[in-house]
Amino acid sequence: MIQISLNINGEDFDVDVSPDLTLLDLLRELGFHSVKKGCGEGDCGACGVIMDGIYCKSCLVLAMQANGRDVFTVESMGDVNDPHPLQQAFVDEGAVQCGYCIPSMLLAADVLLSENEDPTDDEIKEALDGNLCRCTGYVKQIAAVKKAAKMMREEENDAE
């Protein structure tokens, strides 16, 4: 067992992990069930999280690698009562069907919008290219990210 400390969505955790435990399995053991295990080998993207500002696949990160790191899952973005603009836009645009791929897709989009406040369709496609969705045709998700970007730009203008 290896002792690690990490911060998940702003909360500190000290845990003992087996050396072959992945960050994905650790997050699920700790109750962050928005992080999905689709393939467990880097193909589907349902396990996407943000670690130290970088969007990555948590099935390809060993839990011990997360020692001292800040990890964000979709639980950090918002909830039904106080949704993030991306979450609201996904609902408004009908971009969600079964929902399995959506938590990680929202995180990938969140990183994109933090770097680029007005992305083109191609930039959105590239940012979401690690997230497989078996239900939708991606079209509404691209529209939703555009809409969220617009909402966030407007919010920022209003704040100024």
């Binding site: 050396p19 992945t22 880097g42 996407g48 390809l60 060993l62 011990m64 990938a108």
Partner: protein, 284 residues
Amino acid sequence: MINVEQYDRPDTLKEALELLAKEGAVALAGGTSMSLAKNPSWNSIVDLSDIEEIQTIEEDDEFITIGAMVTMTEIFRHPGNMPCSISAAARAVSSTPIRNMTTVGGSLARSVYWNDLPVALLSLGASVGLASAHERRRISIDELYTSHPSKVLKSGEIITDVKVELGKYKTNFIKLARTHVDYALLNVCASLEVKGNVIANARISVGGAVNMARLVIPAGELLSGQQYSDDLFIKAGETAAESIEYRSDFRVNREYQKAVTAKLVTRSLRDAWNNCECNETDGE
């Protein structure tokens, strides 16, 4: 991974090399293949991701030096003079999260058929910095690929950087895959050292259709020292297609591999000659 008892993430290369000198220690970079690896002989993991000295991209008038822990995303976002085939190869790797994690050192050390970046580095004749607790050395990429790179590295030795001469070659990289995120069916990189209308030197490399990145020497030799002609580019494509030892690939048959190698080597040569944006000089 199951017998690992120690995990370290040192801040300096010196500390990392001392840790790696011990029996059973192994380097971890982006972790995209290490996280899935199951080697019972490993007892200690040395995570290289906090070592700043191997995370930088440095340029002077002549060379660009890319640290081993630089990721694919950092390569193609680099605002300076990244040779265009290196950027294209980095961008061709799988998907955003994989590009965010996969490193230069991990790609070279792993060198499976689908690793895109090594194909560009081979074509551009990079040199590779190596370090162990006992020694620092620099070898040509051709030497790193005399066998599988992991066999050329000595025990406890890691890749620290790759260094590429700027403006030397007109270059082009092409990846052929069934989808944007699939493993390459074929990778081609053509790099031409041009003097006026003469090709002083040509280095053509392939990946995807072979076990790991390799130079296609007969095709390069056919062009080196010759006046430019499009017919020659077609012949070089045909020569390349004939001289490669193809891997068997359940997605495509041998005939397809050959036909597409001929076409894409020719296309890559044409694009290097006509459209390379990172070397605009005509090699006067």
